[in-house]
Symmetry: C2
Subunit: 163 residues, 2 copies
């Protein structure tokens, strides 16, 4: 029985780890989340488990109320998501990027990534209480899409980026 | 006795009102604060009284602790200050400006004003609990200085501002 369980676990881990391994963005996201782990709770956790909370199914989303404040853990996840994007852009363009997230108590707000005088990325946030993606694969795809678009913006406005 | 008091009051009001009247920035700031006055408390107040809380003497500042959270009223004042700057820049350049303030619980953070892809103004905030200026005159001067610098930035990077 014990042997069987171990085998199953290993298989699952291998499949999921490869997603994180394959995506520069997810690797960066894992680093961002681990950086917040002041008490070493995640120390022994696998990468995919560390970012498992970024996956929120449609069903689960519909059960999260958008009435109250945004949960501090969700706020931190949103910040980690945009920080990971900022670091990826930074590594590929050599421009130091800053991140700001501003959320109202109703879950509306902004996420801004900028470098010098250039807004590399600006996104309005809505129903932030429900922040999450249907799968790690979609999370990676969205992160990489935003990184790509940020890099293009830096290339388009080099003067403002240096300003 | 009554006559005397009235005279003094009138004189004070006249002197102080002229500061608000003379400054486009202060006029805008008054509008921003009045816009937050959902219950009409300030309806009968003079302009200089509406923004009186933006004046914090050095002595008073030293008495405000920077240990805890930033008071919501202070947070709102900081937001009004940068919104007034944004509106002044908007009126003179014709570019729609957005404002974001991001404050940590320790009173550190950022205030960002941007239009299109251009960061018109970015300031680090520090000891935000003590936000305020020594006098209305200095408040006006600082506001106008930031508006000037913002307009120059828009003129310097027109492509990014339209981007």
């Amino acid at each position: 029985m014990t042997t069987k369980t171990t085998t199953t676990e290993t298989t699952t881990t291998e499949t999921t780890t490869s997603i994180v391994e394959e995506s520069t963005f997810l690797k960066e996201l894992v680093l961002q989340v681990r950086a917040q782990d002041h008490y070493g709770v995640y120390r022994t956790w696998k990468d995919e488990l560390v970012i498992a909370n970024f996956v929120v199914s449609k069903e689960k989303k519909s059960k999260i109320s958008v009435e109250g404040d945004v949960d501090p853990a969700t706020q931190l996840r949103i910040l980690c998501f945009y920080r990971a994007i900022a670091v990826c852009i930074e590594k590929q363009t050599g421009k130091l990027c800053q991140v700001v997230t501003d959320l109202s108590h109703e879950g509306f707000g902004w996420a801004i990534v900028w470098t010098g005088r250039l807004v590399v990325l600006s996104r309005t946030l809505r129903d932030a209480q429900r922040f999450g993606y249907p799968s790690l694969k979609k999370l990676a795809a969205q992160g990489e899409r935003l990184v790509e678009s940020g890099i293009k913006t830096v290339e388009k406005f080099p003067d403002a980026a240096d300003g």
